[in-house]
C-alpha cells in the first residue's frame, strides 16, 4: 500500500529525514517511535504533503500513485488521513460544516453522490459515539476553545467519518490523560480492518498498550535505526532512547567507513 524508498527531506535547507525506507501493507499497524527531534513529525507531514517541507531525494509509492506528485487534497481524497499533533482552530467555521465539506470532497472523488443533511447527520452521530464526544462540539467553530482532549477526539471523529485507507496519527497521545487515551485508542481499534493501515507516530510506548502495533520502527536522527515487532517497544520502555541512539551512532560510523 505504501512504499517509502530512500526518502530525504528537510526544511529551510536543513535536512531532517536522511534516508527513510518503509513498507506498509493493508491491515497493518506500524508504530514509529523516537526521541524529540528525530524526524517523526516531519515524516508524518511529508507524507501528508505539507508544502514547507522539501523532499530532496527518494520516492514514495501509495496505492500505485507517485505520492510526492500529488497535492495534499489529492492525497486526502485517495484515502490518506493525518491526525494532527496540533489540530488547527478555524474561527467562524462550524465543525460539522468542515466535516461535511471534507466528506463530500472525498465522496465526489470516489464518484459517489453527496450525502444529504439527514444521512450525514446520522452518520456523524453514529461515529461520535465511538469517541464519546459531546454533540455541542459539532456546532462550535473548528477546534476553537476545545480542550486538548476534545481536539484529539475531534481528529479521531474526522478519521472515523472519512474512513481513510491509510491513517497517520501524529503524536495523538501527547497531552492526553489516561481516560482520553483509552477513548482515542478504542476509536482507532474499532477502525482497524484488513483494508486499512495505520502509522502511529509516538514518543511514548504508553499508547501502544492500547493500540497494539504489528511493527515498531525506531527513528533517530532522520533514519530508521531499528525495526521489530511489538517487543521492541517494550524494550525501549525498559532501556530508554539512549540505548538506541548509541546504536544509531554506530550505524552512522559504519556508513562513513
Amino acid at each position: 500500500m505504501l512504499t517509502i524508498s530512500g526518502l530525504k527531506a528537510g526544511i529551510e535547507g536543513k535536512t531532517i529525514l536522511k534516508g527513510i525506507d518503509l513498507e506498509v501493507k493493508p491491515g497493518e499497524v506500524h508504530a514509529v517511535m523516537g526521541p524529540n527531534g528525530s524526524g517523526k513529525s516531519t515524516l508524518a507531514n511529508v507524507l501528508a504533503g505539507r508544502e514547507n517541507f522539501e523532499v530532496t531525494a527518494g520516492s514514495v509509492r501509495y496505492d500505485g500513485h507517485d505520492l510526492l506528485a500529488l497535492k495534499p487534497e489529492e492525497r486526502a481524497r485517495e484515502g490518506m488521513f493525518l491526525a494532527f499533533q496540533y489540530p488547527v482552530e478555524i474561527p467562524g467555521v462550524s465543525n460539522i460544516y468542515l466535516l461535511k465539506a471534507a466528506l463530500n470532497a472525498v465522496r465526489k472523488h470516489r464518484g459517489e453522490s453527496e450525502l444529504d443533511a439527514m444521512d450525514f447527520l446520522s452518520l456523524v452521530k453514529e461515529k461520535m459515539s465511538l469517541v464519546q464526544m459531546k454533540e455541542d462540539l459539532l456546532y462550535r467553530a473548528v477546534n476553537e476553545g476545545f480542550s486538548g482532549g476534545e481536539k484529539k477526539r475531534n481528529e479521531i471523529l474526522q478519521m472515523a467519518v472519512l474512513e481513510p485507507r491509510l491513517a497517520i496519527l501524529d503524536e495523538t497521545d501527547s497531552g492526553l490523560d489516561i481516560d482520553a487515551l483509552k477513548v482515542v485508542a478504542d476509536g482507532v481499534n474499532s477502525l482497524r480492518s484488513p483494508e486499512r493501515a495505520f502509522i502511529v507516530v509516538t514518543h511514548y510506548q504508553r499508547l501502544l498498550h492500547y493500540i497494539v502495533p504489528d511493527r515498531v520502527h525506531v527513528l533517530a536522527d532522520g533514519r530508521i535505526v531499528k525495526s521489530g515487532d511489538r517487543s521492541l517497544a517494550l524494550e525501549l520502555e525498559e532501556h530508554g532512547y539512549g540505548w538506541i541512539e548509541g546504536a544509531a551512532g554506530t550505524g552512522a560510523e559504519e556508513a562513513v567507513q
Partner: protein, 481 residues
C-alpha cells in the same frame, strides 16, 4: 512559504463576471457641470420649483468646496467637467409594467442573477431597479400600496408625494454636508423612495439593484427611506457595473429616518467593477449614508458587504437622537489587486440610554489597502450611552495592508465605550488542515474567509447572505448546523 503565498494570490485572482455592456439607445446630456445642466436635469424630470432651488443651492455651495483629502486612499484628480450627469435609456413613455420594459434591460438583470419576473413570483422581493439614472421597473408596488407603503423611484416620489420629499429630503444629509454629497444634491437623477406608515411592518424585503452602464457616466442616485412611528422595513441594495478602462464616479446619498419605535434595516452588497489586475479602471464609490433615529426606541441597522469598486469611501452612520435608540453597523470589506477601501461608520449618541454596535471585518488581498475609520461620539446629554466596537482584519498574502483609525469622543462620564481590534494572516496551518481533509485550496480559502465574516453574514437577509457568500467565492458556510 513563498509558494503557498503565490498560490493564495492565484486564488484571489478571479475575474469580474458582471462586466458586460448592454447596448441600449441612451438619452444623455452633454458632459460637464453648470447651472444650465442642473436646470436641464430638473426640467427633464419635470420637477417642482423647490427641487430646482434645492439643487441650485447645493451646486452653488459645491463650487466653494474642495475635494476631501483625509481618507487613506489615493487617486488622480477627477475632472468634473468630463462627466455625463444625466443618462437615461431612450424610451417612448415610462413603462407601466414589466412587459413594457426593454427586453435588453431585463436580460441585463438576468445576467446579474436577478430576473425581475421570477423574483416577483418566487422570492417575494420587490425590486426597484435603477438602470443608469432612471428607474425602469418597480415591482410589487400595488401590493405594498394596499398597506399604505410607498415604494417608488425618487422621480415618481417627487411627482406624487412632493410633501414627503420636501419634508425629509436633506434632513439627515444636508445639501452642504460634504463634497460628494453636495455634488449629489445638485445633480442626482434618480433613486429610490420608501415611506412606511405608522405601525406598519413592511411584509417583504424591498430591494434596489443599481447598475452603472453608460460609459463616462457618473451615477448619482439618492435614496430616502422614512419609517414612521412603530413601522418596520428591511431594504436591500445591490450594485454592479460593467468593465471599462476609465474610472467612473459613483457618488450616492442614502438618508434614513426612523421615528419613534420604528426600525430600519439597510443591507448592501456592493460589487462595482473594481478595476483590472493592474489597477486600471473601476468605480470610485464615494457614498454618504446616514440614518437618524428621531424618536424613542428607534433602531437603524446597516449591514454592508463591499467587494467591488476601485476606491470605496463610505461611512454609513447613525444619529441616535431618541432616548433608548439603537444603531448597528456590520461590515465586510474586501480589497484585492489595487483596490482601496476607507470605510467604517459614525455613531453619534445624543439621546439617553442609546446604544451602538460596530462589527467590522476587513479582508485585504493582492495589493489591496483596507482601512477602517470609525467615530463614536457621545454628547453631553447622552446619559448611559453604550458602544461596542470590534474591528478585525484578515490579510491574504504579504503585499496588502490593513489600517484601523478609530476615533472616540466622549463628553458624558456615564458612557461605556469598548473597542477591540485584531489583525491576522490567513494561516498556512489552517489551509493545510483543510486541504488534508480533502478540500481544494480554493475552497479552503473560501471557507476560512467566510468563517471570518460569519458575524456579519448572519445579519444579512437570507437572499443576500447567499449572494454575499458567492461574491467572496465561497461555498455555503452554515448550511448545516
Amino acid at each position: 512559504m513563498a509558494t503557498s503565498s503565490d498560490n493564495i494570490e492565484a486564488l484571489i485572482r478571479r475575474e469580474y463576471s458582471a462586466g458586460f455592456v448592454t447596448q441600449v439607445d441612451e438619452d444623455s446630456l452633454p458632459p460637464g457641470l453648470s447651472e444650465d445642466i442642473i436646470r436641464r436635469i430638473s426640467a427633464k424630470k419635470n420637477e417642482p420649483e423647490f427641487m430646482l432651488q434645492w439643487r441650485l443651492q447645493a451646486y452653488r455651495h459645491w463650487l466653494t468646496m474642495k475635494t476631501p483629502k483625509w481618507a487613506h486612499v489615493h487617486y488622480p484628480p477627477i475632472d468634473y467637467q468630463n462627466i455625463v450627469y444625466y443618462s437615461a435609456p431612450r424610451k417612448k413613455e415610462g413603462p407601466k409594467s414589466l412587459d413594457e420594459v426593454d427586453p435588453k434591460l431585463l436580460e441585463t438583470y438576468e445576467k446579474l442573477g436577478i430576473p425581475l419576473q421570477e423574483q416577483e413570483m418566487l422570492a417575494g422581493v420587490a425590486v426597484d431597479a435603477v438602470f443608469d439614472s432612471v428607474s425602469v421597473a418597480t415591482t410589487f408596488k400595488s401590493k405594498l400600496a394596499e398597506q399604505g407603503i410607498i415604494f417608488c423611484s425618487f422621480s415618481e416620489a417627487v411627482q406624487n408625494h412632493p410633501g414627503l420629499v420636501e419634508k425629509y429630503l436633506g434632513s439627515v444629509v444636508p445639501y452642504s454636508d460634504n463634497f460628494y454629497a453636495t455634488l449629489n444634491s445638485a445633480v442626482f437623477s434618480d433613486g429610490s423612495f420608501v415611506y412606511v406608515p405608522p405601525g406598519v411592518r413592511c411584509p417583504m424585503e424591498l430591494s434596489t439593484y443599481f447598475r452603472i452602464n453608460a460609459s463616462k457616466t457618473g451615477q448619482f442616485e439618492r435614496t430616502l427611506i422614512v419609517a414612521d412611528e412603530g413601522a418596520y422595513v428591511s431594504y436591500l441594495e445591490g450594485c454592479t457595473a460593467p468593465m471599462r478602462d476609465e474610472n467612473q464616479l459613483h457618488a450616492a446619498v442614502v438618508e434614513l429616518v426612523a421615528l419613534k419605535d420604528a426600525q430600519i434595516k439597510y443591507s448592501t452588497v456592493q460589487n462595482w467593477y473594481p478595476g483590472d489586475e493592474q489597477g486600471r479602471g473601476g468605480i470610485y464609490n464615494f457614498v454618504t449614508k446616514r440614518g437618524a433615529c428621531r424618536g424613542e426606541n428607534a433602531k437603524i441597522s446597516w449591514t454592508q458587504v463591499e467587494t467591488g469598486s476601485a476606491i470605496t469611501w463610505k461611512y454609513p452612520s447613525c444619529i441616535l437622537e431618541g432616548d433608548n435608540s439603537v444603531g448597528e453597523f456590520y461590515s465586510v470589506a474586501l480589497t484585492n489587486n489595487f483596490q482601496q477601501a476607507d470605510t467604517g461608520t459614525k455613531m453619534v449618541h445624543i439621546g439617553r440610554n442609546t446604544s451602538s454596535t460596530i462589527i467590522s471585518k476587513g479582508i485585504s488581498a493582492g495589493r489591496g489597502q483596507n482601512a477602517y475609520r470609525g467615530l463614536v461620539k457621545v454628547l453631553k446629554g447622552a446619559e448611559n450611552a453604550r458602544n461596542y466596537t470590534q474591528c478585525d482584519s484578515l490579510l491574504l498574502g504579504d503585499k496588502c495592508g490593513a489600517h484601523t483609525f478609530p476615533y472616540i469622543e466622549v463628553k458624558n462620564p456615564t458612557a461605556n465605550v469598548e473597542h477591540e481590534a485584531t489583525t491576522s494572516k490567513i494561516g498556512e496551518d489552517q489551509l493545510f488542515y483543510c486541504r488534508q481533509r480533502g478540500l481544494s485550496e480554493e475552497d479552503a480559502v473560501s471557507m476560512i474567509v467566510n468563517g471570518f465574516c460569519k458575524q456579519v453574514f448572519k445579519e444579512l437577509p437570507m437572499e443576500f447572505a447567499v449572494e454575499a457568500q458567492k461574491l467572496l467565492g465561497v461555498s455555503l458556510e452554515g448550511a448545516v448546523g
